[in-house]
């Protein structure tokens, strides 16, 4: 098998939502959610997808599992035999075999489990609907899966209300993994969990990946969590990928001003690093129904130059360093600051005061 071909290859993916219709029911205005995204995920890799709320990271994840049908672009998924299928173009019926191979883990362990179903029903449902197993075989497989995610199989006849947030998230993971998927889209799987439980779930995801040969798309807004679990990271802003690189490269040498600002904004659990001169972005995101011209980040970027950044087409992703892509006109000229490697954390930040207002 050729390992250079990624498991998932997204090309030019675009998703827009209608927000306004005219009197004939024709959509006249769209909100952009995902715009022309190219992204590849290699087999066995964990790719982190980070960005602020509303940047389109969840929509991208949902396009991959096809709970949304994208309006443009393709999602090439490589089958086990080496052939490729474009998930974006498949009909609901054609999609069925892929629904067991590409699975989603939800964010909220409280609202994503049906309170009227037992764990057996919840975790066994994918096997049941796909016709993979029934009866005692189904029970055996559910029991095995529950054991694998660290829950006692005796609990399979209980209802979700009897479990804590961390346990419910384990149920969520069991439901996603029971049909033996190859690709798992984990949408903020630990954001709703307590700090002390979070590490348990992250460790569980790492173990399961090694045991079951999984590929993860790990969606999160928490940059510390992403750094601890991902091989590679893609940064998303306003529907587009603005930077992608190996995790340590992206954190230590960001090439896009947005990445630099995101890294700088994360509060560090060390009082010696208390922020002074950190980069602060203005609050306002652009209106998704009326995207700005030029680079979509220029309205908040501390380095923006109006003559270049605010006009023309948005800059595309290009190689800014080895295996490191960024979508910024000036990535080669800016010397951006990342996180210092090692336990000391952030390096001193430069003074940006004069570049504001």
């Amino acid at each position: 098998m050729n390992d250079d071909v990624p498991l998932l290859d997204i090309r030019g993916l675009t998703m827009r939502f209608p927000v306004k219709k005219n009197m004939f029911g024709r959509v006249t205005r769209y909100a952009r959610a995902v715009e022309n995204v190219d992204l590849a995920i290699a087999r066995g890799e964990t790719l982190g997808l980070v960005g602020e709320s509303g940047c389109g990271k969840t929509t991208l994840g949902r396009c991959i599992v096809r709970t949304h049908r994208p309006v443009g672009g393709s999602i090439f998924y490589r089958n086990d035999d080496g052939s490729a299928a474009d998930l974006a173009a498949l009909t609901t019926k054609q999609l069925r075999p892929y629904q067991r191979e590409v699975r989603l883990i939800f964010q909220d362990p409280f609202s994503s489990l049906n309170p009227r179903m037992t764990l057996l029903q919840i975790v066994g449902e994918p096997l049941h609907t796909q016709g993979i197993a029934r009866g005692s075989e189904l029970e055996d497989r559910v029991a095995e899966m529950l054991r694998r995610v660290g829950l006692r199989p005796e609990y399979m006849r209980r209802y979700p209300h009897a479990f804590s947030g961390g346990e419910r998230q384990r149920v969520n993971i069991a439901r996603a993994l029971i049909p033996q998927p190859r690709l798992v889209v984990a949408d903020e799987p630990v954001s709703a969990l307590d700090v002390s439980v979070r590490a348990q779930i992250l460790n569980l995801l790492l173990e399961l990946q090694e045991e079951l040969d999984l590929t993860y798309l790990f969606i999160s807004h928490d940059l510390s969590v992403v750094e601890s679990i991902c091989h590679r990271v893609a940064v998303m802003y306003f529907g587009s990928i603005v930077e992608t690189a190996a995790t340590s490269d992206l954190y230590t040498q960001p090439q896009h001003p947005y990445t630099e600002a995101l890294l700088s904004a994360v509060p560090q659990p060390d009082p010696r690093l208390r922020g002074s001169g950190r980069i602060r972005l203005p609050d306002d995101l652009p209106d998704p129904t009326d995207p700005p011209a030029g680079c979509s980040f220029h309205t908040r970027c501390p380095y923006a130059r109006p003559d270049t950044c605010a006009v023309g087409d948005p800059p595309g992703l290009h190689a800014a360093a080895q295996d490191h892509e960024a979508a910024c006109h000036f990535s080669s000229q800016l010397h951006l600051t990342g996180v210092a490697s090692g336990p000391e954390g952030l390096a001193p930040q430069k003074d940006l005061a004069q570049q504001y207002e």
Binding site: A199, E227, Q268, P269, R274
Partner: protein, 367 residues
């Protein structure tokens, strides 16, 4: 610390909820002190009682909840001499929760901001109307004066075009802007104490960073005290002077921010600090995790509430007796038998238990 330095002192506070399924001891013996002009962070996981503690201070506990024991000594309201007769220490627990005195304290001497800025503002009224109502309730001002004051406050918290935004509704503002409005409203009457209950949890990191900057700036300007409640240790490190670590309704450790982060004493604090991913620490490594989970407050284990998850628990001791609160220095306590001078384990050094991963050097009890 002298007595009068403490703006707020909570002693032995117990807030219990009397449900049909039994008594939930949500807050079970909390002691904490908020000094004047300082920021105290309460940190803990969900269910540890941090929000109930803050609500007890403002007497906002609804039945079936009730403060069953303890005192909350409030020494605010002096400088401004707001109402004749104010200024003496008052025990908030003794006040009628619907009475005149507590209503004069709420929003005036002590203000509170909440986690969900969108849910805390009424969508039926403009932000201006809501601010003016608060101001006029506590200050004798005409409507025009109050409006001017509200506009000035909005400008102070960094809202662009405050003259226009004052007539906006909450749904027309972004999350960060709504939280700024909440802060402006909370500060409109120049409170002595601002209680902030997870004010940045629902916000993005970039917005959170700016709100934290704002709170820090305002605190430096106005010399108010801040009681900041959060589960995020990064936010604590960014903001706190003093830290109060809570677990299952009790305070397990207190100290200055440097002491708690660089020389944590309680096994829970140490495990918590180890289990959070820190940027720059490297990728794809297993995090040390705390085993088990926080039990429901109605099923509190006997003895030390943390003992079932603690690696250093002493069988026959931690699971039976309540751990003592040991003073380790000025404003530095740990509630753990490991530090109990009266017998117990051999040597109080946590390093002897082989679990300390943090530097022990420096950082003595200097604030």
């Amino acid at each position: 610390m002298t007595e009068s330095d403490a703006l707020l002192e909570v002693n032995g506070l117990k807030t219990h909820f009397f449900t049909p399924d039994g008594v939930v001891r949500a807050v079970d013996g909390v002691d904490l002190t908020v000094p004047r002009a300082r920021t105290v962070c309460i940190v803990g996981e969900s269910g540890c009682g941090k929000s109930i503690t803050s609500r007890s201070i403002l007497r906002l506990i609804d039945p079936p909840g009730r403060i069953v024991d303890g005192e909350i000594v409030w020494r605010g309201g002096q400088q401004s001499g707001r109402t004749p007769g104010d200024g003496a220490a008052v025990d908030l627990v003794s006040l009628d929760p619907d009475g005149e005195r507590i209503r004069r304290i709420r929003g005036n001497e002590i203000s509170m901001i909440f986690q969900e800025p969108m849910a805390s503002l009424s969508p039926m009224y403009t932000v201006g109307a809501q601010m003016i109502e608060t101001i006029r309730l506590h200050r004798s001002m005409s409507k025009d004066e109050a409006r001017e004051h509200a506009t000035a406050m909005l400008a102070r918290v960094g809202i662009p075009q405050p003259e226009r935004r004052i007539d906006a509704y909450s749904f027309q503002l972004s999350g960060g802007m709504s939280q700024r409005v909440m802060i402006a409203m909370a500060l409109a009457c120049q409170p002595d104490l601002l209680i902030a209950d997870e004010p940045t949890t629902a916000l993005d990191v970039t917005t959170q960073a700016r709100i934290l900057d704002l709170i820090r700036e305002l605190q430096a300007d106005t010399h108010m005290s801040v009681l900041f409640i959060t589960h995020d240790l990064g936010v604590v490190a960014e903001l706190a002077d003093d830290v109060v670590v809570m677990y299952l309704g009790t305070v397990v450790e207190t100290g200055s921010v440097d002491d708690v982060f660089h020389d944590p004493k309680h096994p829970y604090t140490r495990a918590l600090l180890r289990s959070i991913p820190t940027m720059g620490r490297g990728t794809r490594e297993r995090l040390p995790s705390i085993r088990g989970m926080v039990p429901h407050p109605s099923q509190r284990p006997p003895g030390c509430p943390y003992h079932p998850r603690c690696d250093e628990a002493i069988a026959g001791r931690c699971d039976q007796e309540d751990p003592p609160v040991v003073a380790l220095g000025p404003r530095r306590t740990a509630r753990c038998v490991l530090y109990d001078p009266s017998g117990g384990p051999p040597g109080p050094s946590p390093a002897s238990a082989g679990a300390s991963g943090t530097a022990e050097a420096g950082m003595e009890d200097t604030p």
